[in-house]
């Protein structure tokens, strides 16, 4: 942050806008270093900022290095540069001002005021700004008057009133005309908004990712899907980078000798054996009864975004019956596949979950899905509606697979409450885990890839 300030004081004020924009991006979660910002500053003089497409691309190409961040960039860009005016001339957006304050303050006064507002915003804790705008503006004006830098502008502000207000100049100097007060408040509000824009986007994401999934509202779920796609892509990139790093194995003697024959057997070049990349095989069993179906949706969406990281994914859905849904995902995009699962009647909706029956069916019909490399994920709340738990089948599943994880959306202290029989299954699971929100789900998937063989 410090370097921003240093530049602003030397450079022309218009450049401050760009630093501010970079700041907005940073707060929105885009990874920016000083190199990117310097590139942007180097690039801007080379182009004409009046052309929107070119201007936008210049910012994008220098600042955004991760293509998954492009939607965020677009959003920030539109809000930051377009919001001020419907007009398409960008040049105008940051060189002219149509707001009330422009009739009242001169350019110099305005920029001085803005820097004073910045100081004001910096010098108080975030919580302070929850107060009303009127109150904040009053404090701001008080501070300006008492500060040294504000002295000059303070004077000119109060003189200004004589132009607009009809009162004579020997009135108390503390009184500001309502127009001036309004204008200062407008400036303050805008600065606060600009500063918060980036963090608002990030906060929204964090909020969604951390929210209890069953508390999400329908329109939030829509938003989540986009987010999961982006998040999943990022996760995929990260995991595949990590996988590459461990690929190199021990020396491949055969190949080394053979290739070095041309040098009379002197081993100039060493060849390494590729270590087999450990791609887990996955069997996902999702309870899709109404109590957990939103979790299952997200779980399936995430596993299918990450599909290419696994050697094989087979997925099953159950309520009282178990049905394989792998093919559905193979045929259509996850979104549509999910909907067609929920429209399917094979699960006998309304009967409530029957874990026992579903495990029995799995062992009978699909035990070929299990190998010593398979990791089994079960997503459900273990509310069996007082029916046979099918423990024998469950143990068989465990014995035939490498790991068996149970993700339980219920909170831990509710695990045995009512008809939940979680503790009956716990001893036979590699782990039973509480998943509250999407972050928990993704953390769990992440850990699947760090395990030692």
């Amino acid at each position: 942050m410090l370097y921003d300030k240093a530049f602003i004081s030397e450079e022309d004020k218009a450049k401050g806008v760009f630093f501010e924009f970079a700041e907005v991006l940073k707060k929105a979660g885009v990874n920016l270093s000083i190199v990117e910002i310097m590139d942007m500053m180097q690039a801007l003089p080379l182009i004409s900022i009046a052309e929107k497409e070119i201007f936008k691309q210049t910012l994008a190409t220098t600042l955004v290095k991760d293509y998954t961040d492009i939607p965020i960039f677009n959003q920030c860009f539109e809000e930051f540069f377009q919001r001020k005016k419907g007009n398409d001339s960008l040049l105008e957006v940051y060189t002219s001002h149509t707001n009330a304050e422009d009739f009242i303050f001169s350019q110099e006064e305005k920029s001085l005021l803005e820097s004073l507002i910045d100081d004001f915003l910096d010098s108080h804790p975030q919580s302070f700004f929850k107060k009303s705008n009127e109150y904040l503006t009053k404090i701001l004006i008080d501070e300006i008057q008492s500060s040294e830098a504000g002295g000059a502008i303070g004077l000119s502000l109060f003189n200004r009133r004589s132009r607009y207000a009809s009162g004579s100049s020997d009135d108390s100097i503390q009184e500001l005309s309502p127009q001036v007060f309004e204008a200062i408040m407008g400036l303050l509000r805008r600065r606060m908004f600009e500063r918060n824009m980036g963090s608002a986007i990030k906060q929204r994401e964090d909020y969604l990712l951390n929210k209890y999934i069953y508390q999400l509202k329908p329109d939030e779920i829509k938003e989540m899907r986009e987010l999961i796609k982006r998040f999943g892509q990022k996760m995929k990139n990260r995991i595949s980078l990590r996988k590459k790093r461990v690929k190199r194995g021990s020396i491949d003697i055969k190949r080394t000798l053979r290739r070095n024959l041309q040098y009379g057997g002197v081993p100039f070049k060493i060849f390494h054996r590729d270590r087999k990349v450990d791609r887990p095989q996955l069997v996902v069993m999702c309870d899709i009864s109404s109590s957990v179906n939103q979790y299952s949706r997200f779980m399936l969406l995430l596993t299918y975004t990450l599909q290419s990281l696994f050697a094989k994914v087979r997925s099953f859905a159950f309520i009282s019956n178990l049905v394989e849904i792998t093919d559905l995902f193979r045929e259509m995009d996850p979104e549509r596949a999910l909907n067609s699962i929920f429209n399917d009647t094979n699960f006998t909706y309304g009967w409530g979950s029957n874990y026992g029956n579903s495990f029995n069916q799995f062992i009978q019909n699909y035990s070929d899905a299990l190998t010593s490399k398979t990791t089994v994920l079960i997503l459900g709340d273990a509310r069996n509606n007082n029916q046979d738990p099918g423990l024998d089948s469950f143990i068989k599943i465990k014995e035939r697979s490498r790991n068996i994880y149970w993700l339980n959306p219920d909170r831990k202290h509710l695990w045995d409450w009512s008809d939940s029989i979680a503790s009956l299954y716990i001893p036979h699971c590699t782990e039973m885990r509480e998943v509250k929100n999407f972050l928990d789900l993704s953390h769990f998937i992440d850990t699947l890839f760090i395990q030692k063989r």
Partner: protein, 302 residues
């Protein structure tokens, strides 16, 4: 060197490469700022072609490095000619006795030896691979590092020095700095994430499927034998098809193939029957073809 963004678009158009303002802006800036460009985007949108056409438009030499898993610095940067070096040591053995004949003691012999030129590690035995070639080239060049995402992450580290300082350090010799800074273009299909260090050194360009207008221009330029009317229909169809949830969307190169094929068949309008028969030009999966057939009535009007 292009003189403006407009000039960039025109220069590339002369090489039959139609590019959007976004692409031109990044390329123009990269050339001006002497920075590498990392180009990402789906397969078949013309990432590699972009590099080729820039080279042609500027009259630079194109040096291409195709990345693959296991690519190492010996294939990308430089390599010692081991076999020649071996021969050299053998010559040395023969010559050695002659040179050292008149030396009385071992110490004298060593002193005498050290006055001789040491060519074992010298440029005589150095084989320049694409990157070193681009650096040492007398004329400016375009260095196209294709599909960088296929290489291992260690390989990225070798690139860093080239990308930021346009130089290569060879431990046995020293640092070789570029005579003429090459214009470096890296392409990636997003098979994996590039390291932050690499991204920081590059400008970033994401090329997506083109807009209808742009794609129409491209087809007109490359397959003029297709009538304007047919081209419009092809483009509309392709854009409708891209909206379907396919395994692999048809890329620009596939649009061009299709246009060529339809022109060869002498079509004047694109009707459903012909479209269905030729779908395999644009779709590479049986499942995708079936899906399009199922939706053909909403995609093509006649």
């Amino acid at each position: 060197m292009f003189s403006s963004i407009k000039d960039t678009i025109q220069g590339l158009e002369k090489q039959k490469y139609i590019c959007s303002k976004e692409i031109a802006t990044t390329i123009y800036l990269a050339l001006k700022m002497e920075k590498p460009v990392l180009v990402e985007g789906p397969a078949g949108v013309g990432k590699t072609d972009l590099g080729k056409c820039i080279a042609q438009a500027l009259g630079y030499e194109l040096i291409r490095l195709q990345c693959y898993e296991g690519l190492d610095e010996a294939k990308a940067l430089y390599e010692w000619e081991y076999a020649k070096q071996l021969l050299y040591t053998q010559i040395l053995k023969d010559k050695l006795s002659k040179i050292l004949e008149d030396q009385a003691t071992l110490k004298d012999a060593v002193n005498k030896l050290s006055t001789e030129e040491d060519v074992f590690f010298s440029e005589k035995f150095l084989v320049a691979r694409p990157i070193l070639k681009a650096i040492t080239n007398e004329t400016p060049s375009v260095l196209l590092i294709d599909e960088i995402d296929k290489s291992d992450s260690e390989f990225e580290a070798f690139l860093l020095e080239v990308l930021s300082d346009f130089q290569v350090t060879i431990p046995e010799i020293g640092t070789i700095t570029a005579n003429k800074k090459p214009f470096v273009l890296l392409t990636s299909n997003n098979a994996r994430e590039m390291s932050d260090a690499l991204k920081r050194r590059c400008l970033h360009l994401y090329i997506d499927y083109p807009t209808k207008e742009l794609e129409e221009q491209i087809v007109k330029l490359k397959v003029p034998e297709c009538g304007n009317y047919l081209i419009k229909e092809i483009i509309n169809t392709i854009h409708e098809i891209r909206k379907l949830p396919l395994k692999k969307d048809p890329s620009i190169s596939e649009t061009l193939d299709w246009a060529k094929a339809l022109a060869l068949l002498g079509c004047e309008v694109l009707n459903r029957d012909i479209a269905i028969d030729t779908l395999n030009f644009i779709l590479k999966y049986e499942k995708d073809i079936e899906l399009v057939k199922k939706n053909i009535y909403t995609i093509i009007v006649h």
